[in-house]
């Protein structure tokens, strides 16, 4: 389980999450968020193609990310979700909060 991130030249912050996206990533996630915030970035891409399992804490963390970006819709892109993972977003009807690619 890990989060890695890079900041690209267009000012978009890319995060990649691997393994299980759950409560254990809580601290790391917050750290990543605060380093992004201190760089003044407000657009994110979250790469979830290597995510095995996701739970409600993960949805909570993404809400936190969305909140810190300013709650303007779709400033966060979520990429590469497996159908199972995407279904979890759909059950919570969070499709309106994130841009899924």
């Amino acid at each position: 389980m890990s989060i890695s991130f890079i900041e690209d030249s267009d000012g978009i912050f890319s995060m990649k999450i691997q393994g299980d996206f759950d409560y254990t990533l809580h601290e790391d996630f917050r750290e990543v968020m605060s380093s992004a915030e201190s760089s003044g970035l407000s657009r994110f891409t979250v790469n979830m193609s290597d995510v095995d399992e996701m739970d409600s804490s993960a949805l909570g963390m993404l809400l936190l990310l969305r909140d810190s970006c300013g709650v303007d819709d779709r400033k966060i892109e979520i990429a590469g979700c497996r159908p199972e993972i995407y279904a979890l977003f759909m059950t919570a009807n969070f499709d309106k909060y994130f841009n899924f690619i």
Partner: protein, 562 residues
């Protein structure tokens, strides 16, 4: 700070003095012993920080001395350094195997001697850090345990027996951790409507326990006051958004069952599909169409439930997503499809029991990844309680003299359910022990008639079949939104008369009324939102009178003072 003390044990006086001088020059404080027995005594009495000893000693030998020293120093790490003339590997190996930490072979250089001591002191310091950290951890764990006990106590009280509210509801639960993240509650409104909630907080354990407090508080209090699940959903959502951090939310499914089991309302925000079973066939009824509670109070939050007409005798199944993540021995999850298949294929006299067994047997005792909750609601009209009045009020009531008049325009009843609103106004002025529920029913019927048929002009004959039923509620929503000056005026008077309280309730609406000369049988078609219609009011009230136009009704309710 007290000086670092070294116990120096050497039976050769000259050598011992030489080493002692060297150590003292290096600022160590030295305790000397020339035989093993004395050394042991001094070790116990003076608690030195380090021991330096020869192997060959008078009295107790070096190896035995060190074994004993190590046996005695359990809580603290005291480094032991052997100084010896022996060079054979067996003797040197024994220096460490008996418990010593290092050795120096004579002749030695003082620089090396001192530096070995530094190395040992470093390890000693590290050891002490670990013990400190461990003790802090133990203290924290202990206070965490007592906090968890407190939270558990509060949780149990707030949530209570959960499903204890009704015979129609069965609840199965298998917890993943100490607290269930799932909360299940059920209770009746004064008019006999059954409200049920099953919710699942994001995160585990303590989050759920804390979340249980506002959720159960609001659910029970509002149900007791006769509110619909739509209102309850709105209030819980407001509360959770206000008090909890952004990342904490609560997936929930609420079901409202009308007293005669004529219809049910379902609100599903983030929970798995709700299933309905009738005539041995199970079908999906209500998917999650809403965002969970505690996420947003904006326009993206919708509190309107799905309303479904039912026949009576069906069974509803609610689950939390712990059911869907149950894994079989091959590590495959049950999932929505798997659970749906399970529901459709099980045949048993004890259907609910069998479903629960199948789900839990999957993990075969390996524990559950998440809390598993399964609720069955049996929509049986026969099992509904006839009289929901509870002996809550201890004191008997005194009928007082009062009059309250209010006029409420459409924008009020667009957002607020009028029946509990009016009922609460009445209850705050006048308690009527044993009659609160009947009065609520009368108020509800009259006010809802006024809104639905009077102001909104809806035709209740639509509610006779399932499609018409859905259409009825859709029309209702549409018409509520339109921008006209519809109003409902409620006038309530009360006074005492011969050991009775007399309540007079007049409800007038801005609609065009109806034909008051209709026969009684036609009037019974004029069923209000609660479904039992004007005949019920007539049964409960001393009198029910309409004006000529049909848009104003006055009901008189008499009650005996106990």
């Amino acid at each position: 700070m007290s000086p670092y003390t070294v116990l120096l044990v050497d039976s050769n006086k000259t050598e011992r003095l030489a080493v002692a001088t060297m150590l003292e020059a290096a600022s160590y404080s030295v305790i000397q012993a020339d035989d093993g027995d004395r050394a042991l005594e001094l070790f116990v009495e003076d608690s030195p920080d380090m021991v330096i000893t020869d192997v060959l000693l008078k009295g107790l030998g070096g190896y035995d001395l060190v074994s004993e020293i190590k046996r005695l120093s359990i809580s603290r790490f005291i480094p032991v350094l052997f100084i010896t003339a022996l060079r054979d590997s067996d003797s040197l190996v024994k220096c460490v195997s008996c418990g010593g930490d290092d050795f120096m072979v004579k002749p030695y250089e003082y620089d090396i001697f001192l530096v070995k001591m530094v190395g040992l002191r470093r390890i000693q310091a590290m050891h002490e850090e670990i013990i400190d950290a461990n003790n802090t951890l133990k203290r924290h764990d202990s206070s965490l345990q007592s906090e968890l006990s407190l939270a558990e106590h509060v949780y149990d009280y707030m949530v209570g027996s959960g499903g204890g509210g009704s015979d129609l509801v069965r609840y199965f639960r298998a917890s993943a951790s100490r607290f269930s993240g799932d909360i299940f509650l059920s209770a009746y409104t004064p008019s006999g409507t059954l409200n049920v909630i099953l919710c699942d907080f994001s995160g585990h354990g303590l989050y759920a326990a804390i979340g249980a407090i506002p959720v159960s508080d609001l659910f029970y209090a509002m149900t007791k006051k006769g509110f619909h699940i739509e209102d309850i959903v709105k209030e819980i959502n407001n509360k959770l958004c206000a008090i909890f951090p952004v990342e904490m939310f609560c997936a929930a499914v609420l079901v409202e069952v009308s007293p005669a089991c004529e219809y049910i309302s379902i609100w599903n925000g983030g929970m798995p599909d709700v299933y309905i079973r009738s005539n041995e066939r199970t079908n999906m009824l209500a998917q999650s169409l809403n965002i969970p509670l505690g996420v947003s109070v904006g326009d993206d939050f919708n509190s309107k439930p799905l309303v479904v007409k039912i026949e009576g005798g069906e069974r509803l199944y609610l689950t939390s997503d712990g059911v869907l993540v149950e894994k079989n021995k091959d590590g495959e999850k049950l999932g929505e499809k798997g659970f749906s298949r399970l529901l459709r294929t099980i045949i048993s006299d004890d259907y609910f029991g069998e479903v629960c067994r199948e789900v839990t047997s999957m993990s075969e005792g390996n524990g559950h990844a998440d809390d598993v909750s399964i609720v069955e609601i049996f929509l049986s009209p026969e099992l509904f309680p006839v009289d929901v009045s509870k002996a809550n009020e201890v004191s008997s009531s005194v009928p007082r003299h009062w009059q309250i008049d209010m006029k409420l325009y459409k924008d009020v009843f667009r957002d607020v359910s009028l029946a509990p609103f009016v009922s609460n106004v009445v209850n705050s002025v006048q308690s009527m022990t044993g009659h609160k529920e009947n009065v609520f029913t009368v108020i509800a019927e009259m006010v809802n008639n006024a809104v639905d048929h009077g102001v909104l002009g809806l035709d209740s004959s639509l509610k006779r079949d399932p499609e018409g039923f859905a259409q009825y509620f859709m029309s209702r929503d549409e018409r509520l939104l339109s921008d006209d000056d519809g109003w409902v005026s409620v006038s309530i008077g009360h006074h005492a008369e011969n050991d009775q309280g007399v309540l007079e309730l007049t409800v007038e609406d801005s609609g065009s009324g109806f034909d008051v000369n209709l026969k009684d049988s036609d009037m019974s078609e004029n069923a209000g939102y609660c479904g039992r219609g004007l005949p019920l009011i007539k049964k409960l009230c001393k009198s029910l009178v309409f004006n000529k136009k049909g848009n104003c009704a006055t009901a008189t309710y008499r009650w005996d003072v106990e």
